[in-house]
């Protein structure tokens, strides 16, 4: 996993609620055998018509909106637990997703892949959408170490992140690195475990 400390970027807004993982990456793309390339099919059925032509009014097809931060409506990432949804967002270039609620498993999968989910209250989410609408070039700043999201000079807010996961993201470690570092403890456990 890559290390992430600060993200300073413009943001892409999708003010839709209940975006499920089937929309983020449709089931037919689950037949791939690698983690790469899912970005191409991110929001596939919203981005492209059946013919393969781009859907002009979908936000990812609008060159005005770019950046490493995705801002989405409430209950982002619900539905199937497919991790492919997170891979698609990450592969496309997103490193932060802001919403007012995340589905549990999506949140877990994100943190395991270096995609930072930031939960804000509804009013703040609304405010962020407004900032982007007024100026698509508006830059937001996320600082993982201090757990802050800077919206502008006067608005900086604190967000929650699990202590252990925060360290992983800052250092670019994942759970495997940690688990391998406690191999002796695991072996010790196996020795005393009675198996039936």
């Amino acid at each position: 996993m890559e290390a992430l400390q600060k993200i300073k970027s413009t943001a892409v807004p999708i003010p839709v609620e209940n975006i499920d993982t089937d929309q983020i990456i449709p089931a037919r793309f689950l037949k791939a055998i690698s983690r790469e390339g899912f970005g191409e099919n991110l929001f596939r059925d919203w981005r492209y018509e059946k013919s393969g032509n781009k859907v002009d009014d979908f936000i990812l097809n609008n060159p005005i909106y770019t950046g490493k931060i995705l801002v989405a409506g409430k209950n982002f990432g619900c539905g199937s637990s497919r991790e492919h949804a997170v891979w698609a967002l990450h592969d496309y270039g997103f490193r932060v997703v802001i919403s007012s609620f995340f589905a549990d498993i999506f949140k877990g999968n994100s943190l395991n892949n270096g995609l930072v989910p930031i939960t804000v209250d509804d009013a703040t989410l609304h405010l962020i959408f407004e900032f982007i609408e007024n100026d698509p070039n508006h830059v937001f700043e996320v600082d993982i170490a201090s757990q802050t999201l800077k919206i502008n000079e006067t608005h900086t807010l604190h967000f929650d992140i699990d202590e252990y996961k925060k360290e992983c993201i800052l250092k670019g470690y994942d759970d495997i690195d940690y688990l391998l570092s406690i191999k002796d403890k695991i072996e010790e456990f196996e020795k005393q475990q009675e198996l039936y």
């Binding site: 055998i33 252990y164 688990l179 039936y196």
Partner: protein, 456 residues
């Protein structure tokens, strides 16, 4: 202490800051869809597979259910299945691929081979891993990164879930099965009612169920948003396991049983949440909408709640009854209801009857072993005479990743576990039900109350 706490605590390797725990995993099941990226992760990082003997692999999600002796024709499915075979070869893991006598849906083969046992921690990159909880173990689905973690270390870093007990007491009406029990519970608690919890099912109704029927309940525990479901092991559990291929034998088995008998929630154990239901309140159940929580008793009409999007998709209206609705397809299969007991129940009912002319009725056994046993018992002849097609094992129309899909706009009464939009194929309309109800619907060609056929 609850059963859940006993097993969980016995598997904690260490605590880490922030409250997370490192949980040791006893058994890891893998299949072709969620394992390839985990294997390539190990390969790229040059991490050895830690405990290969704790992995069981099978191909189920993508496999065709016809002509399994021939190569898979769909190129992407073929590639995924072949990748699994190759990875298992590279890492020296036994793999039950297509045509193997032990092949089948991952949650069907674990129990039938005696790999799933009480007191274990079991994971698989698949949400319905909860099925195994019927044996009194902690079994839950994980993401692909976690599949890789377990491959690398046999452990996961987790927050301990909350506990919930759901108690069902009393005698069931005739024609009401464990599938109806769980659909009823989900309809009461909603598709999010179990969020953050691990559920223990208890009460005499649950204890009186067979192991197969218990698996159906635990299978669908995650459809109420729970992390998993479990049932305390008892004599029925031990009898089921005894003599199975990977089960302990002789004195080892006796010792195991002595330990397994300690696996139950103590009197007075505190659960974070409790619910209880009366078995006599439960009728044959159906879903009318697009999540498993949208279920009703067959005699009830569709409620008028905020579900217009779902009803439009299904082509139903609030206030109407489902009885008499014309159905085009019946699917009997999936890890919820594809075990031998399910097939026997269906065969019992359809014996001497025929499916309605316009219906396609497909039965997909959960495993090669189930298929073989069904044939040995002559169930295949009964199905054939009734116009039902007995296929070869796999996930099939449960998720439509292979060619078994329900055409757009058509109705399927299905014994599977999810009725999401497009789950059984783009535009397909799924009504979840028990195998018994599904069999009756196939015969009548329309939705019918199974109790009509049963004398008391």
């Amino acid at each position: 202490m609850t059963l859940f706490d006993k097993i969980w605590d016995a598997h904690v390797v260490t605590q880490i800051k922030g409250g997370r725990q490192v949980l040791y995993i006893d058994r890891h099941f893998i299949h072709e869809v969620t394992s390839p990226q985990a294997f390539s992760g190990l390969k790229t990082r040059n991490i050895p597979l830690y405990r290969k003997e704790k992995i069981t692999a099978t191909a189920d999600h993508n496999v065709p259910t016809k002509n399994q002796h021939l190569p898979i024709t769909e190129p992407l499915s073929k590639k995924q299945v072949n990748t699994l075979l190759q990875n298992c070869k590279d890492f020296d893991i036994p793999c039950y691929g297509l045509g193997h006598e032990k092949q089948g849906i991952v949650h069907v083969i674990g129990p039938e081979l005696g790999i799933t046992r009480p007191g274990m921690t079991i994971v698989c990159g698949d949400s319905h891993t909860s099925t195994h909880g019927a044996f009194g173990c902690i079994a839950f689905g994980i993401g692909t990164s976690q599949v890789e973690q377990v491959m690398a270390s046999q452990c996961l870093i987790l927050n301990k879930p909350k506990t919930m007990r759901i108690t069902v007491n009393g005698a069931l009406q005739k024609g009401v099965t464990s599938k109806d029990i769980v659909l009823y519970i989900i309809s009461k608690l909603t598709a999010a009612g179990g969020t953050g919890h691990f559920i223990e099912f208890a009460g005499d109704t649950i204890q009186n169920l067979s192991m197969e029927a218990r698996m159906t309940i635990c299978n669908m525990s995650i459809e109420m948003g729970a992390r998993g479901g479990m049932i305390a092991p008892d004599q029925k559990t031990f009898d089921y396991i005894k003599g199975r291929e990977f089960a302990p034998k002789g004195i080892d088995f006796e010792n195991a049983v002595a330990h397994w008998k300690t696996l139950k929630s103590e009197d007075g154990a505190i659960f974070d949440t409790e619910h209880s239901f009366e078995a006599s309140d439960i009728s044959p159940m159906l879903t009318y909408g697009t999540n498993p929580g949208m279920g009703i008793k067959i005699e009830d009409s569709i409620p008028d709640t905020n579900n217009k999007k779902a009803l439009d998709y299904m082509g139903f209206s609030a206030g109407e009854s489902l009885i008499g609705k014309r159905i085009e397809h019946v699917f009997i299969g999936s890890c919820t209801n594809s075990r031998i007991e399910d097939l026997r129940q269906v065969a019992d009912f359809v014996k001497g009857k025929s499916k309605a002319q316009h219906i396609t009725a497909m039965i997909v056994p959960g495993s090669k072993k189930v298929e073989k046993q069904a044939k040995e018992e002559g169930l295949d002849k009964i199905f054939e005479a009734a116009g039902f097609e007995l296929r070869e094992p796999g996930c099939s129309a449960c998720l439509g990743m292979n060619e078994d899909k329900i055409p757009e706009g058509e109705y399927c009464v299905s014994t599977s576990n999810r009725n999401f939009e497009g789950r059984q194929g783009p535009g397909a309309r799924t009504i979840l039900a028990s195998p018994l109800t599904a069999a009756a619907v196939a015969v009548e060609g329309q939705i019918v109350d199974i109790r009509k056929f049963l004398s008391n």
